[in-house]
């Protein structure tokens, strides 16, 4: 396994979640969120582009960001399962974002000392961006969790549905372990404490409890995805597959 594949995992996480958020554009429950969610999507897609570029360079087979994003099928995508979960209702969307950002914030903070200068550069920007993703998503989780009877029920449903995808965030694939040994990327398992602290803080204010998950869902890092990813990629890739190299 190679370091470039670990960067591909990270890039896929960011692209897939960025695409999911962009699906809210024009459909968000209010104008504020119609601005917020695509703005957050841009942050994630911006990071993904730099990571794909680096992954393609390290692979050395001439694949650029477009080749990696548009010409791989779902079995070749290496994103974790959390990020591909469908938007469902707003509670699912904001909780998915909170989980991801609460993991990525300490991750990027540690990646500031990466042995790779490009990773350092991405980390410097993305760490700051994750801080406000946590804030924005966290405020919504609190507002809904400690809101009306219905919003509280839906928020609790989202926790029930998404908490089983949390553990996979902390797993390091063989490729990730190689990147960690080389000092290119931080050790995923080490984010647990910081993650738990943010979730505990938000959940206590949101009157929610983080359930004990007996059996977490895994498989994204080996290309075993849910049905939803195929639909997402079909929409995202159709233009480039019909018109390779299209620009506008």
């Amino acid at each position: 396994m190679a370091v470039w594949e670990a960067l591909l995992e990270l890039a896929d996480d960011h692209l897939v979640l960025g695409h999911r958020l962009s699906e809210w554009c024009g459909h968000a429950p209010m104008l504020e969120e119609d601005l917020a969610l695509p703005n957050m999507a841009l942050d994630l897609i911006g990071s993904a582009r730099t990571l794909y570029d680096l992954a393609g360079t390290l692979e050395g087979k001439g694949r650029d960001e477009d080749a990696l994003a548009y010409f791989r099928g779902e079995r070749d995508y290496r994103n974790c399962l959390l990020v591909e979960r469908p938007n469902e209702d707003f509670a699912h969307t904001v909780l998915r974002q909170l989980y991801f950002a609460a993991f990525m914030k300490p991750y990027w903070d540690r990646a500031m000392t990466s042995t790779n200068a490009v990773v350092q550069g991405v980390a410097g920007k993305a760490g700051k961006e994750m801080a406000y993703h946590i804030r924005h998503a966290g405020e919504w989780v609190i507002r809904l969790g400690d809101g009306t009877e219905e919003s509280a029920r839906r928020m609790a449903d989202a926790v029930e549905a998404l908490s089983i995808y949390v553990d996979e965030l902390f797993d390091s694939s063989d490729a990730a372990q190689d990147a960690e040994k080389a000092g290119v990327l931080p050790v995923r398992a080490e984010m647990r404490e910081a993650f738990d602290a943010v979730i505990a803080d938000v959940f206590s204010q949101a009157l929610l409890t983080q359930p004990d998950v007996a059996y977490g869902q895994r498989g994204g890092r080996t290309g075993q995805h849910g049905e939803g990813l195929g639909h997402l990629l079909a929409e995202m890739q159709s233009l480039h597959r019909a018109h390779p190299g299209a620009t506008w």
Binding site: E32, L42, D43, G46, G121, K125, R135, H136
Partner: protein, 162 residues
């Protein structure tokens, strides 16, 4: 154009620095701190430009505009995109902050790195009142948030602190 001597670097800087930001045209790329430096390397003016946010859609437009300004000033030009260290609103110059305010955009609150759920007090760019409230964390561009002044009732943009 015949270009020689020490003042060339200064001329190249001046040409690049005057380029307005495409999304906030009241300030230049130098005042925003996204133009980091301009060097002459074997006769080529090389400009170091840093993106504000990872996905800032204006990044490419800014790079094109700086390159065009350098060419217009008679230089061969090249852009170097700088990712590290990451841009921070602390790099906005004092002049830039004043121009933002005059334009109706509240400049970032210095030293006001917002922590989780703690928001800073933002002064209204029109009446300087600190009685303001945030309407939305996100505004017309990635770098701005929407606020409202409780004293004079005017809504305004706030240049977020990162």
């Amino acid at each position: 154009m015949n270009l020689s001597g020490e003042s060339d670097a200064g001329a190249a800087w001046a040409a690049a620095a005057a380029v307005p930001d495409p999304e906030v045209p009241c300030v230049s790329v130098a005042e925003l701190g996204i133009l980091r430096w301009v060097r002459l390397e074997e006769g080529v003016a090389v400009a170091g430009v840093t993106p504000t946010y990872s996905g800032c859609p204006a990044t490419l437009a800014i790079e094109f505009a700086v390159e065009a300004a350098l060419r217009e000033a008679g230089f061969e030009a090249r852009i170097e995109r700088l990712l590290s260290p990451a841009w921070t609103t602390d790099w906005i110059t004092e002049e830039g902050r004043e121009k933002l305010k005059a334009y109706g955009i509240a400049p970032p609150v210095n030293g006001g790195k917002a922590t989780l759920f703690v928001s800073v007090s933002v002064a209204c760019p029109r009446c300087d009142s600190l009685e303001t409230e945030r309407l939305s964390e996100f505004g017309s561009t990635a770098c701005k948030a929407q606020y409202r002044c409780i004293s004079c009732r005017e809504p305004f943009d706030y240049f977020k602190c990162i």
